[in-house]
């Protein structure tokens, strides 16, 4: 019996080992190494790396570009997520019913999700092009002057927000479709017998029952919004004057263009902390959700 238990422990670890090695090599080790690197200066031929402690983090808090890219990330999340969720709920309600052309509608809403961000940016680049672009051509019909949407610091972020909503709403729709399918059809029948309006039914029955879905989407969309940077390579390269720059893109620039690994590490640690706090919030809310049920 003792032999059996030993065998079980050994076998369990043996099965887990390949995954463990890869996870340690590409998740845990780099997380710790990033933190350590952020405490040391960059090494060069004339000067070896030395311990600088929290100096890197002081630089970070004194760096106006850091604050700019961080606030851009927050604005992007605020501008994108609530609207995408609203649209996702509408889309899910439409597609969940037996409307004519239902699978066409589902394909139309979901297709942007299947496109790489680079391709999306290529297409939208044309929409936003000054004068010849689709947006300016359409607005021109109403006598509105041409704009350089992506070249102007005050319009570039809203332009990217609109594009991101287009890309993400259909993806969130999936989670609401899954949520709607768990709502018992008897509730709809009961509401109909009671003569409850669709609007009423949505707010009193469907919306509260979808609340856990909304929390889930909200937190995951927030986490995901920090990873969405691909479009910047095509659209703006973070410009003009960092007006559309984001944390992860700034990390990329700092490490691979300015070759400042120490500072890139400090930025990465900040991003990791931000994600950790969000993920902890998720655990907290998920606990609540269990009580809620």
């Amino acid at each position: 019996m003792l032999m059996e238990t030993h065998k079980r422990h050994l076998l369990g670890w043996a099965l887990f080992t390949p995954a463990a090695i890869l996870l340690i090599a590409f998740t845990h080790y780099p997380t710790i190494a990033t933190f350590i690197n952020s405490l040391f200066s960059n090494s060069s031929i004339i000067r070896p790396s030395r311990f600088i402690g929290v100096e890197g983090y002081q630089d970070l808090f004194d760096d106006p570009v850091f604050w700019k890219v961080f606030s851009n990330n927050i604005w992007l999340a605020l501008g994108t997520i609530p609207t995408s969720i609203g649209l996702a709920i509408i889309m899910a309600l439409i597609v969940n019913k037996a409307v004519p052309g239902r699978s066409f509608l589902r394909i139309a809403y979901f297709t942007p999700t299947m496109l790489p961000m680079i391709a999306v940016a290529n297409i939208w680049l044309f929409f936003y092009a000054p004068e010849i672009g689709m947006l300016d051509q359409v607005l021109g019909l109403f006598g509105i002057d041409s704009h350089n949407w992506l070249g102007n610091p005050s319009t570039v972020l809203p332009a990217i927000i609109v594009m991101t909503i287009w890309k993400e709403a259909g993806f969130f729709m999936i989670f609401y479709l899954a949520g709607l399918q768990t709502i018992s059809p008897e509730l709809a029948e009961a509401a109909e017998l009671e003569g409850s309006s669709r609007w009423n039914f949505f707010w009193r029955v469907q919306y509260p029952l979808l609340l856990p879905t909304t929390l889930f989407v909200l937190i995951n969309a927030f986490l995901n919004s920090f990873k969405l940077v691909d479009h910047l390579f095509v659209l703006t390269k973070g410009g003009p004057d960092n007006a559309s720059n984001l944390i992860l893109y700034y990390i990329y620039e700092t490490a691979f263009s300015f070759l400042d690994i120490s500072y890139a590490s400090a930025l990465t640690v900040f991003l990791l902390l931000l994600l950790a706090v969000t993920a902890l919030a998720q655990f907290y809310f998920v606990d609540k959700r269990v009580h809620y049920r």
Partner: protein
Amino acid sequence: MKRHFQKKLSISYSLELIGAYLLAALWILPLLYAFWAAFHTKEYAIHFELFAPLTLDNFREALSQAPFLRYGFNTFMVLAFLLPLQLLVSTLAAYAFARFNFIGSNIAFSLVLVQLMITPEILIVQNYGTLTSIGMVDTIAGIGLPYIASAFCIFLLRQTFKSIPKELEDAAQLEGCGTMGILWRVYVPLAMPTYLAFSLVSVSHHWNNFLWPLIVTNSVETRPLTVGLGIFGAPESGVDWSLISAATLMSVAPLLIAFLLFQRQFVQSFMQAGIK
């Protein structure tokens, strides 16, 4: 029944339907535009004439300017390398977590879940350093390596394995199956829907992945489609919307066609993967 019928024809229902189709039209408009521009000459890309002549020149031109076929092959190779390894490594780990209550398995599992939050995208700087030190920069395997151990896949499979009744395992044991035989004959076949769901999500994700492959690759032999397209779209090549649209369509076509053919499976997979 009659009331139901009347209700269906009511004005508010029609308005809803019109709204639904308008939204759908708005949602596919950008893609339709890309089709329009790709199949017309440059002049018609920016003004619309219904009967403008169609052409394939943009595709020919794009293919002559950049090796998109090679890029497509590279993307395919990344997936051919990555997906089987993802499934293999995750299957073993998930089996350990679902059925072997080994010492430290709870701590080990929470260390796995860390990767759900800290995805490889965020650790690009350090992981590039690791890749350099093991000499795997600019290789197909290097693109896939950080993604092989997938916390998401381990989590999905563990959930599935746990839901499989233990009696089946006991029965297989009686018939003489060993530990690995049970995994292969009982768990893996019964988890097929999960394997399919994860595979479709993973293929979609890695077909479209950009940042990490951009950092890792620097030659035509390894560059995947997204990176090739990202370089191609650079304004230095002059703004030719038809050409860019043709290149964009070629890059998204394989995945998009697969999605249109199997849209039900794709949507269901994303749903299944999302709920768990």
